[in-house]
Amino acid sequence: MVKESRTGVYICQAGTGAADSVDLQAVAKYAEKLPGVVLVNVIGNNPKLDPVSLGEQIRKEKLDRIVVAADSPGYYKPAFVRGLALAGGDPENVMLASFVGNGAGAQGSTERAKAVVNCAVHGVPYGLAATPKDKPVHPDTLVIGGGVGGIQASLEIAGAGKKVYLVEKFGTIGGKMAMFDKTFPTLDCAACILTPKMVSVGQDKNITLWTYAEVEGVSGSPGNYKVTVRKHARRVDEVACVACNACSEICPTVVPSEFDAGISTRKAIYIPFPQAVPNAFLVDEKSCLWVTSGGKKCGACVKKCAKEAIHLDAQDEVVEITVGNIVVATGYQVFDAQKIDRYGYGRLPNVITALEYERLTNASGPTGGNIVMKALKHNKRKKVDEWVFAPENPKPKNVAIIHCIGSRDHNYNKYCSRVCCMYSLKFAHLVREKLPDANCYEFYIDMRAYGKNYEAFLEHIKEEGVHLVRGRTAKIEEADGQMRLKGEDIIGDKVLDFPVDLVILSVGLEPVGDSEKLAGLLGIARDEDGWYAEKDYNADPTGTERGGIFVAGVCQGPKDIPDTVAQASEVAARVLKSIISGRMEDSRNALSLADIEASFRPQAQA
């Protein structure tokens, strides 16, 4: 006769009480009724569990199996393993039930949490028990976001002969990488890698590219999603426009250039950058005088266009498409450095952010790649003096690069943004290369050179004579036109206070502002930092709770270009697998608690 097992369920989680958090008491009640469970204990997230007293309890209750349920139960496992061993039990019999790992945490789903505990009690991994039914798949795919991630995924899928709709919010594809001069750690020319891919997207017959467009609605179910896309009117015919620049020359409206991260200007009718794909001008509806005045003012550009390509009265178009899979590759935005007043960003002209520096040091940027300081220049139109970058401006003698701006900081974003240590080293290299007489200081907390060849890159940059200072900068101040930096040099045991001319803030990566909205449309979850939640941290880092919806690139969490590209290709393979086999897994949410319970019934009878 098989000996009845006596299982104890320990819930090592503190209920936050928030409406969207897991109801631990309900989970506990549910667990009490599961087969073999003789004890359920909600003990909160006490990091210092005492194995001896646990062992006593285990002995008293004659437990021979333990289920540890929590967001991250692995933290607590060792105490239970020892406790069970002390009580004479088999330490192998400690099962983990992770809420977060199986999608209950991010969604605050109590039903899911119950299912996860049920699986652990039965000794079956949740991922195995919860296999939704297969569904037929529509062969078309939607890719949202045309950064390097979205581009890669689109090219891979289209390359297999399948149809892709690529929807990009901005006037061109390319994302952040298009703005960069070099990429770490190889110091390759970013444009040389990206531009051919961008051109391929523009030329690929299987890719329908909609720029200046947004997803407005998603309905249907895995394998068969109906998606509404709003194509904002570009107001310039993409096909007819030859990008001659005649319209832009006459346009009176000057606004900061997004592509140059605001360190140069563009007109209301513009092309984001010369290699843009599609290689055509567009009209920014927010600043164009004709548009904002309802057709009453200006309109000067229309007559200038020899190709008659400008249609200022063009209307937005809303289209509905049907797709089987959706790839989300919406990337990131950078931390707003103005939130930390003590670094003076926004107040002090020569405190700039990383993206601004990328454009400053880029040969195609407004200074032709010269690293200079901003200088006051009279703006005749506005009749004011403005701080601007120009190629002939004086060069900085002391350049400081400050790491972890807005990252690893409990006042802002707690997580590490993962790429900024490396791009800061890249920046320092460019300073040393272009300004050999300048001092370059890099202030870091910890140097995170975790990737392939990264440590070698770090060593190389050190040898170039960059002063790496361990310590976070506390503040940048200005007196008599000279900026001063104050920070602790921890290894040198000194408080530094010295003059600097150019300060680069290595801002962290953040989820894009509208990611919550998009998550809502798609019905996928976001993690506590706002990144899109993957289905399973280890086993399924690109899938989501919803069948047929995948995440690739930084929108899933900070990562560099190689990781983004690898993820994008991996997603493409999964999409193709579903299209070719004609079947895909339904969403996990489609499975109810009852479905999971039912899957154990035959076992229970046996």
């Binding site: 004579g465 976070r472 000194k494 010295f498």
Partner: protein
């Protein structure tokens, strides 16, 4: 000398209010932000390190906690919520316990029940003692409040300093005991921080040269004014000057306070009473409602201290009011005893063993810091100049 690590140091410091030290990842933001952190005393980060590593001996010889006035800027900006400001505060409590030779301070800080119990015991003894003294040695008539025949005579006729059997006699005895304890503890502080250190050979001249700093920092708290936030300094200065004024008035000019006609003493007396109660109430409100960073964390000893201050202030007013405005001498005598039941424990327990000790340690630490800075500068040649970036840290 080998450095010994004490693995239980962090646990120990928890009793003194340091809760978040392990969160610190040594970014150095705090030390660079702190307006008071200047070479050769750069804090608070290094103290966080000593704590994390269990370097109790280093910490015991550390003057830096006393150089911090807890403006709270480091805590506000700390990216890890490691509360460096509160850690410095906790280290001051811990150091107070270390300096104290009797061990009473340690007991009080580690158990507020012990502190509150001791206060109540002393209060009770004071009440009984004063009544007994009034009945036997004093005037013997509970109906007389002031003058030579008072139930509790403030001073004996013709003897300004009150030698002879009167209330002031106790003042002086108490003062001598407290002074003795504080001097002993200050000597220990000197030994831990300076005297026992092989690298701190201080010439006598250096000690003498900086001696003026003691009264200077005591009266002005000038260093506090160097914080970016000025309000806490003003509050603290008002509280401290009000207290000092009242102490002097009561010790030396009590007979004027009691006189029916208005005297300049009254103006000072009333102003400082308002100052004392106002600032103590402000601080209590701050602590209860956590209005500012330096009020966010309260150790029991902070609250006990404020409670005592408010108690003493209020009962002092009532006593004075009963005599001067109501003319009710019985009530005045009664309130007098009630008042003393707060005053005596406050002076006997708080000054040498608890929060009040900082009134001596702080200026004394600043004095020692100035002395040490001289020795360090001497040792390292001239004073370390502000770093010229071209020359330092060449990789």
């Amino acid at each position: 000398m080998a450095v010994r690590a004490n693995p239980n140091l962090l646990e120990e410091l928890k009793h003194y209010g340091a809760d978040d030290v392990t969160k610190c990842y040594h970014c150095g933001n705090c030390s660079a932000t702190c307006p008071l952190s200047k070479e050769p005393f750069i804090f608070p980060r290094k103290s966080m390190r000593y704590l994390q590593m269990g370097l109790g001996d280093k910490l015991k010889g550390n003057l830096e906690p006393w150089l911090c006035y807890y403006c709270g800027e480091c805590s506000d900006e700390c990216p890890r919520e490691a509360e460096p400001g509160e850690t410095m505060m906790s280290m001051r409590r811990w150091l107070t316990a270390k300096y104290d030779i009797t061990g009473i301070s340690k007991l009080f800080y580690e158990s507020w029940v012990a502190e509150a119990g001791a206060i109540m015991l002393v209060a009770l003894l004071t009440g009984i003692g004063f009544y007994w003294f009034g009945m036997t040695k004093g005037g013997g008539d509970f109906g007389i409040y002031a003058g030579p025949n008072a139930f509790l005579p403030a001073h004996t006729e013709g003897n300004f300093f009150g030698l002879g059997w009167n209330v002031h006699t106790f003042d002086w005895i108490m003062g001598a005991v407290l002074g003795g304890l504080l001097v002993t503890n200050c000597l220990r502080m000197w030994w831990f921080t300076t005297g026992s250190r092989k690298d701190m050979k201080v010439p006598l001249g250096t000690y003498i040269k900086h001696a003026f700093l003691l009264p200077w920092h005591f009266i002005t708290q000038k260093r506090y004014a160097e914080c970016d936030k000025k309000k806490p300094w003003i509050i603290h200065l008002i509280l401290m000057l009000s207290y000092l004024t009242l102490l002097i008035l009561i010790m030396l000019f009590l007979h004027h306070m009691h006189a029916p006609e208005t005297h300049w003493v009254h103006i000072f007396g009333y102003a400082s009473t308002i100052g004392l109660l106002g600032t103590a109430a402000y601080a209590l409100n701050g602590r209860l409602n956590k209005t500012e960073t330096h009020y966010k964390h309260s150790h029991e000893s902070d609250l006990i201290f404020l409670f005592l201050l408010l108690y003493v202030g209020t009962t002092g007013i009532l006593q004075h009011f009963a005599y001067r405005f109501l003319g009710n001498e019985i009530l005045a005598n009664f309130m007098y005893i009630i008042h003393m039941m707060g005053v005596v424990p406050m002076l006997v327990l708080e000054v040498p063993f608890s929060k009040w000790a900082h009134l001596a340690y702080r200026p004394y630490a600043m004095y020692l810091a100035a002395v040490q800075a001289d020795v360090i500068a001497e040792r390292e040649g001239t004073k370390v100049p502000a770093l010229a970036p071209q020359k330092q840290m060449t990789a």
